[in-house]
């Protein structure tokens, strides 16, 4: 996940870039030097993104996708990253070396890159009582370091009761 962020930072001449889950969980970062800064930025960005989303729903009927704030020397851009399976939040900080226009261009490229880079969603097998019990037994065996063997092996999976 760091490679696309590094590409973004290099191309857009940004200072930091951070990709996070809307819950605040960090997915990737580039440019931060301390973990505590990443955690704080994630928590604040998630809160800002959630607030802006609700504000957009109130005003416009749909959440605001991008948010920009210009400080005295540094500027912040927060954007929504929609992918096929998930939604992420992107935060970047830049100064006068870059501009909002450049950041938006390379943010669009980053979104396309992340969309193409995500693994395909695994097809889920239909759930049945037998497969559920089998999976549960296998998980319990792995948890207690008793690796299950296949049908040709001597040991069967652990019984539930």
């Amino acid at each position: 996940m760091e490679a696309p962020l590094q590409t973004f930072v290099d191309d857009a001449h940004a200072l930091f870039a951070l990709l996070l889950h809307p819950s605040g969980q960090v997915m990737g970062q580039f440019g931060f030097t301390r973990a505590v800064d990443v955690m704080a930025a994630c928590a604040l960005a998630a809160a800002i993104h959630a607030s802006a989303g609700e504000l957009g729903r109130e005003l416009d009927g749909k959440p605001f996708r991008e948010l920009y704030h210009a400080g005295r020397s540094r500027q912040i851009f927060i954007g929504d990253v929609p992918t096929t399976n998930h939604r992420f939040v992107f935060l970047t900080v830049f100064d006068a070396e870059s501009s909002l226009g450049l950041v938006r261009i390379y943010f669009a490229e980053l979104c396309a890159l992340l969309r193409s880079a995500q693994p395909p969603l695994l097809a889920q097998a239909p759930l049945s009582a037998a497969s559920l019990e089998q999976d549960l037994n296998r998980s319990l065996a792995m948890l207690f370091s008793r690796a299950p063997r296949g049908a040709d092996g001597g040991e069967s999976s652990l019984p539930l009761a």
Binding site: A96, S98, S99, L100, G101, L102, R104, I105
Partner: protein, 116 residues
């Protein structure tokens, strides 16, 4: 809705032979203020990159003690990018190789007062 104050400038420039598009862009943020471009031109991308280029050229010129940039011309294989700026706005013109760049330059310099 009232017309943009740059509409006259842009329509005058787009009428020049070989001009593919012209844009008024914020120098600091690279965002399009107004534009008149042919179909197929990614005006947002051109605006952001041209504004960044003009800003760097202005800083370079100032650092070299050459004062302000009066006219910026980029000559590429398939055309020209021309830029001229004032008061935080940049007027960008894209032109084909067959364009008469002298006339475009003159029209852009004449339009400079409209950017204030």
């Amino acid at each position: 809705m009232s017309a943009s104050p740059f509409e006259g400038v842009l329509s005058q420039l787009i009428r020049q032979r070989g001009v593919l598009g012209c844009l008024v862009v914020g120098e600091a943020d690279g965002i399009v203020v107004d534009s008149n471009v042919q179909v197929g031109i990614q005006s947002n991308v051109v605006a952001a990159l041209a504004a960044a280029l003009y800003r760097k050229a202005r800083l370079c010129s100032a650092a070299a003690g050459l004062s302000t940039v009066s006219f910026l011309q980029l000559e590429a294989e398939r055309g020209y990018v021309c830029a001229i700026g004032r008061e935080g706005l940049v007027l960008v013109t894209l032109a084909e190789p067959r364009a008469h760049i002298g006339r475009i330059r003159g029209a852009m310099i004449e339009s400079l007062s409209a950017l204030a």
